[in-house]
């Protein structure tokens, strides 16, 4: 017989992060589409164009090599990733394909990181391997014709721990760095360093730079630390975590406007925590189009409306990918993210309205 705390633990692990199979399928499709459209980003053959002077192996796979692999090996990685992502997109052999994508990305990025800098892409790399265990190929896939359609949600809980922990460590570093001391402002320093050194001065940057209010900057320090450290505690309640995810999207959006840091890939990962589905609407036989029917249609198909901002984003990215970039940011990203963020705010507005 289960004790009370095991029952609670089981509820948290296996049930609290419930999501509709359609939503999971959309996450899968979005992930694959992003990979395919960003494949220029995941084109690893550039590594071979640099001499081994740049090679700084870190503990791990690259320790077993003396330098970068030849271009043909890296091209094989590109081809493998492209093929695997097409399989993922159409949902064929979803589970093994998802795990293989993660493995190929780990191997490929080991050589990217051998240039010396490990950057924040690890969540994107491990995401499909973890999601493979949800059975995210249960709907909108070729697999759905011949395999079971039961999904499991413990990998989403697992993902929440990793995300919560990543935010927590970022906040802890700031906390230990003295961000909560009164006087001066770490946010102010960081903002001006990024602005002056890297030249990230687009969108709201000029406006923020003109703010000389010490209270404003000090409050920012406290808000950032509180938000990032608090993430780890929110993990234990799906409702709190979803609110934190909403704030995380707004936080990253603010970062995009102020610090000009792109966050496209994280938006897709955050999507798994949002259950876009609403209750089913009763069908009516009348052919007359009424306001209620339009509302009902939107409600019923809300899960698909997400595409209204994913697909334009991908198309625009594809069209603009060769245009000049300002430190990895495309000007077109701002309006597209704005639509995405508005969708999230709308979702939470609905949820909050239900609470009261």
């Amino acid at each position: 017989m289960k004790t009370k705390w095991i029952a609670k633990l089981d509820y948290w692990i296996f049930e609290s992060y419930n999501i509709a199979p359609d939503n999971l399928a959309l996450c899968r499709i979005s992930y694959a589409l992003f990979n395919l459209f960003f494949l220029f980003h995941f084109n690893f053959s550039w590594i071979a164009t640099y001499p081994d002077t740049f090679y700084h192996a870190k503990p791990g796979l690259t320790f077993f090599f003396d330098g970068f692999p030849p271009a043909w090996i890296l091209n094989i990685f590109n081809i493998i990733l492209t093929v695997l992502n097409f399989f993922l997109l159409f949902g064929k052999w979803t589970k093994p394909v998802s795990i293989l994508i993660s493995l190929t990305l780990i191997v490929s990025f080991s050589f990217v990181f051998a240039f010396g800098n490990t950057y924040h892409i690890i969540m994107w790399i491990i995401f499909p391997a973890i999601m493979a265990f949800t059975n995210w190929g249960a709907k909108l896939s070729l697999d759905s014709f011949n395999t079971n359609k039961i999904i499991t949600t413990w990998p989403i809980t697992f993902m929440s721990i990793l995300i919560g922990f990543a935010f927590f460590t970022s906040g802890l570093a700031k906390l230990l760095g003295g961000w909560l001391q009164i006087g001066g402002s770490a946010s102010w320093q960081y903002f001006h360093i990024v602005r002056s050194k890297i030249g990230r001065d687009l969108y709201l940057s000029d406006f923020i730079a003109s703010i000389n209010n010490a209270f404003f900057w000090e409050t920012l320090d406290w808000l950032v630390v509180g938000f990032e450290v608090g993430f780890i505690f929110a993990v234990f309640s799906a409702r709190s975590f979803r609110f934190f995810i909403c704030f995380a999207i707004l936080f990253h959006f603010a970062n995009l406007l102020i610090l000009n840091i792109s966050f496209g890939i994280h938006l897709v990962i955050f999507m798994i925590f949002i259950n876009w589905n609403m209750p089913e609407i009763t069908n009516s036989n009348s052919l007359k189009i009424t306001k209620q029917k339009i509302h009902a249609f939107i409600k019923k198909h809300r899960v698909y409306t997400i595409f209204f901002w994913i697909i334009p984003y991908l198309i625009l990215f594809f069209l603009y990918k060769n245009h000049s970039r300002v430190d990895g940011i495309l000007p077109i990203e701002v309006p597209v993210y704005t639509i995405g963020v508005s969708a999230v705010i709308y979702y939470f507005y609905k949820k909050i309205k239900l609470l009261f």
């Binding site: 001499p51 081994d52 002077t53 740049f54 791990g60 721990i161 360093i193």
Partner: protein, 150 residues
């Protein structure tokens, strides 16, 4: 199966905290895909902040031309570019003695500037940011200089 998953969840927290403790108390390198990374710990200083900026010039027959690192490392992933500059042009770097690197650099610079020979100069500036009466004051100081013969 349910028991195994439960155990995974019970052990994941200590494992993550142990990793964090290790990263926080030891200098790099950490395993290449390890998170978290505390390399960018942001310290708060009440009065002054500084940043190191490297400027790269090529001198050819008395003509001095600035080199944009984004052009020099154009095919590289963006986050790696700053790191690459620091690695190969720092004063401690032995890259200038590496024939393979010099050949690559010469070819790259020729494509960018049409310069055939000359020398490459990397100047490291430290910019001090001070806040006085709400205004930002920048003071530039040269902290290192490296010359690579092409």
């Amino acid at each position: 199966m349910q028991k195994k998953i439960r155990l995974l969840f019970i052990f994941v927290f200590p494992a993550l905290f142990l990793q964090m403790h290790y990263c926080y108390n030891n200098p790099e390198p950490f395993p290449a895909i390890m998170m978290p990374r505390f390399g960018y710990q942001q310290l708060k200083d009440n009065t002054v902040s500084y940043m190191d900026v490297e400027l790269i010039f090529i001198s050819d027959n008395g003509k001095r031309q600035i080199i944009d690192r984004h052009q020099l490392f154009d095919s590289m992933h963006l986050p790696q570019r700053f790191f690459a500059v620091r690695k190969v042009f720092s004063t401690e770097s032995q890259a200038a003695e590496d024939v393979e690197f010099i050949v690559w650099l010469r070819k790259k610079l020729k494509d960018l500037t049409a310069a055939n020979s000359g020398r490459l100069e990397a100047i490291w500036h430290r910019i001090h940011l001070t806040r006085k009466n709400g205004n930002l004051i920048k003071e530039k100081e040269i902290i290192a200089n490296k010359i690579i013969k092409l």
